[in-house]
Amino acid sequence: MANKETLNNVLITGENSYASVEDSIGRLILKPQLHQRGWWIFFFIGLAGTGLLGVSITWLVYQGVGIWGNNQPVAWAFDIVNFVWWIGIGHAGTLISAILLLFKQQWRNSINRFAEAMTIFAVMCAGLYPLLHTGRPWVAIFWLFPYPNIMGMWPQFRSALEWDVFAVSTYFTISLVFWFMGLIPDFATMRDRSRNKFGKIAFAILSLGWRGSNQHWHRYEQANMLLAGLSTPLVLSVHTIVSYDFAISTVIGWNVTVFPPYFVAGAVFAGFAMVMNFLIPVRAYYGLKDLVTIRHIDWMCKILLATGMIVFYGYILEVFYGFYSGNVFETALTKDWRFNGPYSGYYWALILCNGIIPQLFWIPKMRTNLLVVWLVSFVVGIGMWLERFVIIPISLTNNYLPASNKMYYPTMWDFMMFGGTIGFFIFLMMLFLRFLPAINIFEMKDLLHKVINDESKVEPTVEAMNSKMNPTPAKEEVPA
């Protein structure tokens, strides 16, 4: 992996034309031979993980939630930790696709498709947990969804858990619709480029007969802006509502008003870290360095740094609240269960992972060193998981009645299911890379059109159809 790519303000580097932009994205689908050993290795890892998930779900449904380590007083453990972790990872996708669109941040064009796919897959993984936590999901359906049933029963709308059902299912639906809508024009492009009969038919069906007419684009743009405008408050509300699951209860360590903003920032933080964990290897492996430039990585690092600081502020405020509240139980939680005690290692690892290590990104050199960026992102992913672990099981072990304090120990099945969802996620990402345009083709052309009009150094050569199969980074002459 070359770590010596130049940082400048050009969002598409190298010599590119509409055709070459399209080609470097489209060939991932049209040329199966591009997916070599690396793809197959991850595909099989993902497939194995999916199998593991299947096995653990089957055993769980057969045997019941007793196979997990959850027990009183720690009734919420890995399942809810993983739920919050996954759903948080999804939030970066919506932030990139919606909020950055509203702010007219053109650089998002090359990463939004990828991040949106992550959103959808992460929400799928997240949704599994609360559903399976009910133990008998097929019976639980009337607890969750309000529909007239023969028992004459309704869900309790005053419960934060019911709000969660609405928030997460709306989030999933809207993200899926938003993602699919953006894919329609690209499906049309793939339909027209595909030489393979099966591919042509499949893409023709998926593209719904899109013909790129001005009327289509006109309404597409309207719907796109509206969905972006709707997704923005939606993404903020989803993690806010997730944090209400904790914040509106009276559990020690949960009843804190800083939770909603701190959870939202944490979600974006974790999500950007995951985007980079996937994107850095993918852009290197598939030669997408001209489209996802070092400038993108640099900006994502800055967002990581900013949201990381908000999260760190949340940790500091939790400690402050632990002492300032004057509540002996809160103080005891902070002192005896977080700073010291059997779980203190996790707490301090969390501070290290999320508070200290991301500060490396203050140094510009670190933001352009791909190895460092990848490692820091990985550490942030772990740190965000630890954060939920610290908040959920650790708070529950400490009770108002000291006699009921009890340690939490996960079982093998807890780990297997977590590993299984990670595998499932990798599996879906690999299929996405293979069968769908991983970068938004038409938005990249739009960006290229603007780059050309901005008297950039990039010289458009529209006739360069198929002339370059593997655009290499050109020698950069103007670092900004």
Partner: protein, 184 residues
Amino acid sequence: MSHAVAEETSTVYAIVAEFDTPEKLMSAAESARKAGFKKMDAYSPFPIHGLSEAIGFKDVKVPFLCFAGGLTGALFGYTLQYYVHVFDYPMNVGGKPLVSLPSMIPVTYEATILFAGLTAFFSMIALNRLPQPYHSIFNTPGFERATQDRFFLAIEAADAHFDAEKVKRFLQDHEPIRVSEVEP
């Protein structure tokens, strides 16, 4: 095809010009509108800003439908909870009122967004008449590049001023790569 009357031109769907840059398409569309053509459409691989104005296409149905969808969603979310908690299954929780408004906000809010978002998507699809597997414009030679790197302007036979020869000459003046007559 010398005497071109709109009703009789069943053998021609449109005269289509192919351009290699969005700027040429824009100027051609602009002058076609000024020349009085109404029934025309442009085809491009990506949205071009200002093209709708150039072509004279105005449409604000999607935002209004989306707004109506949002209102419906809000009404649905709120009345669902109201009906459940007041009429169908009243439950006294700690002496709190049956309609405890703050606790009803999240579901109302999410329902608003769900309905508005789905309306925006489906009204875009429906107004664009998608899915539509066949359309006459696909008969244009080289039209597969309309989703790749070429820009097309179609002046349709349904237009009141349509005259195949004149339209061809008109389009030839705007540096097209080619101008073709397209069958329906």
